[in-house]
Amino acid sequence: MDRLKILCFAGTYGLALAVELARVVVRSPLRWYAGVGLTALGWLVQTVYLANLAWTSGALPVTSPFESVMVLSWVVALIGLYLMVQWPRRVAVGFFTLPLVLGLICGAAWFIPRSTGRDWEGATAFWGTVHGMFLLAGAVCASLAFAAGLMYLAQMRRLKSRPVKKFGFSLPSLEQSERVNRGAVVAAFPLLTAGLLIGVLLSAVELRKGGAGTSHGVPWYDPKVLSAGGMWLVFAVLLHARFRPSMRGRTVMMLTIAAFAFLVFTWVGVEALRLPTAHGPARAGVTP
């Protein structure tokens, strides 16, 4: 039943993507209205779905990887919708944002556990939520940087071809994609760092309370912690590259894609691959 509900808005986003892809052959201005309308409809249905989740659980829907990824896709869809309306209509924003949104929703629906698998209370619950919120905000920025990176690479590839290829749609200028990417990377790093730091401190306090296996603490050798550390390092390198003139352009964009892949793996890959972790729902043996 739950997957059926998800299919409602995922299907609407899918239709919006189909309309967006149709710009290659359909030149009617109605196509733009249909694309924006369907994306907005999908977003509204998803909003109702997330509101229902929050109402049912009595908490913000960021307490499990499933909910967090759903919220992430919801925010990315909203940003995509904003750009579709804000940027010139010939720019194919939906080509890049809608597959990302659909990928996140489908990944969350089919591969990620639904339950939080934890029973946090008091200050631990509060800081746990703050930890999740920071990571979520960082993930939104990383997703945006990823989409802008793809747009940059596609546009650069197009401009390097002779004669310049016509796709039947336009892409943002290189400068615009670079600017969005830079802003998103610069915002993502401190947000992810804060989120991870709060998680580490929270885990240290919990471990001191009860030791590994008996408390909410996650030991440093846990796959989730190791992959999160790796992700942080990749983002640190990305931020460094972002400000190194010699690495501007393609290198930064490739690094952005790698960083996003790392983020996805850290967030949901450990659970999806069923690696032994004491973080989140896997602790309680919850399966997708």
Partner: protein, 439 residues
């Protein structure tokens, strides 16, 4: 109803004739007023651009100007001898007028296929005619449809996509690389004609700064003065390249003036910012390997020409679908126009017939009842008038509704035929096929 379009265009007449016949901004209003005075009861629109001068006329069959009358008017208005332009005139009649206007608005008749200006010029011509009260119901319908069809053709065929000149292709590329230009520096190397032309197009982007480098500093200063730019001595080329975001190179140098290694150093000094280089010199001014560098887009004049040719061929592919759209829309528009005319005539006939019957019967009644007072007569006449209007209300509404319904182009609408039969009105005139182009 008759329609006529008469004029000259870039195919039929040289520029001198077109200039002599042009209705410039100052003369357009006077021209429309003079047309209305010369041919009262007719509608007129004058389309006057640098590539065409056309007078569109519409009016009743017995009062509409013909080709001779209109060319006499043109001769008199411009003070030109008839033989100075008559052989260049091209005319269209009736349905062909609608088709021609639709092709013009869709820029199929333009010198540059698919150019966007003509739609605005058609709109402006129509607006001027409306302002001068020279356009009436016929041209409201025809020109509003022309503007819609022009837009539709561009949307459906992509006829307006991609630029056709090297300079405008360069501007398009600049927009693909950069988002804003107020903070950008444009560098022109060489003070040649091509650089000047490209700069003319790029100036529309409002770049923040323009630098001109030339071996002859005097020539650089002359070009810089024309474009509010800054002349830079050739010895400071590297510094200018470092400052520039967009480079146009047009020198006549026999060898590349910027080598790969040199530009690698420049790009390092530029902190690897995005750069667009338009090398429109033959032979090349920039080593082609520079185009492989990250953050650099380098185009040679051959690339730009190939791009322009590709765009033109894409536009040409759109001609056939555009003609199909125009043919369909012309038939629909002209049929609707004729039907509106038929319906209008039928409503007039219906009203006249009812008025005749009412007046005859009232006269008979008043003669047979001479004792009626003036007040009684007025009340009875008023009642008869109301009765007539109420009886005719539904037939009139049905006729108006039928006139706006789609139907086969060559047959009158069955409702119109039925009303004619029921009220014993004369048959509608048989529609004449649209006359062909006259040259």
């Amino acid at each position: 109803m008759r329609l006529l379009a008469l004029g000259v265009d870039h195919r039929s007449a040289p520029a001198t004739v077109r200039e002599a016949l042009a209705f410039g901004d100052s003369r357009l209003g006077a021209g429309l007023d003079a047309l209305r005075e010369s041919f009262p009861g007719n509608e007129f629109v004058v389309l006057s651009t640098c590539n065409r001068v056309e007078v569109y006329a519409a009016g009743p069959a017995d009062a509409a100007p013909d080709v001779d009358a209109l060319s006499d008017f043109i001769s008199e208005f411009h003070g030109l001898r008839h033989d100075a332009f008559a052989s260049h005139l091209v005319g269209y009649h009736d349905e062909a007028v609608v088709g021609h206007l639709f092709r013009v608005a869709s820029s199929l008749e333009s010198l540059v296929l698919g150019e966007g200006q003509i739609l605005g010029q058609v709109r402006e011509a129509y607006r001027s005619a409306v302002d001068r009260k020279a356009a009436g119901p016929v041209f409201h319908a025809v020109f509003q449809n022309a503007l819609r069809v022009g837009k539709l053709v561009r949307e459906k065929t992509g006829m307006d996509q991609g630029k056709l000149s090297v300079a405008s292709v360069a501007v398009d590329l600049a927009r693909e690389v950069f988002d804003t230009f107020a903070d950008k520096t444009v560098l022109v190397i060489g003070a040649g004609k091509m650089g000047d032309l490209t700069l003319q197009h790029l100036k529309a982007l409002n770049p923040g700064r323009i630098l001109i480098v030339n071996r002859n500093l005097g020539r650089a200063e002359a070009v810089a003065a024309r474009w509010q730019g800054q002349a830079v001595p050739f010895e400071r080329l590297n510094q200018a390249l470092i400052d520039a975001d967009l480079v146009i190179s047009t020198t006549a140098a026999a060898e590349p003036i910027v080598t790969h290694d040199q530009y690698v150093r420049v790009q390092r000094a530029r902190r690897n910012r995005l750069a667009l280089i338009l090398d429109i010199a033959i032979p090349r001014d920039f080593d082609p390997r520079i185009g492989d560098l990250d953050q650099v887009a380098l185009y040679h004049v051959d690339d730009l020409r190939a791009q322009a040719e590709q765009n033109l061929s894409r536009r040409r592919k759109g001609v056939e679908p555009a003609l199909q759209i125009i043919e369909r829309e012309t038939a629909a528009c002209y049929t609707a126009l004729r039907r509106q005319q038929d319906a209008g005539m039928l409503l007039r006939q219906l009203g006249d017939r009812a008025d005749q019957v009412r007046e005859r019967e009232l006269e008979f009644l008043f003669q047979s009842l001479p004792q009626l007072t003036e007040a009684d007569r007025a009340a009875i006449a008023h009642m008869a008038s109301r009765l007539q209007n109420q009886f005719l209300h539904h037939p009139r509404a049905a006729v108006r509704s039928a006139a706006s319904e789609p139907a086969p182009p060559d047959a009158p609408h069955p409702v119109l035929t039925a009303v004619r039969h029921l009220f014993g009105l004369a048959d509608a005139p048989v529609p004449k096929p649209g006359l062909k182009k006259i040259t």
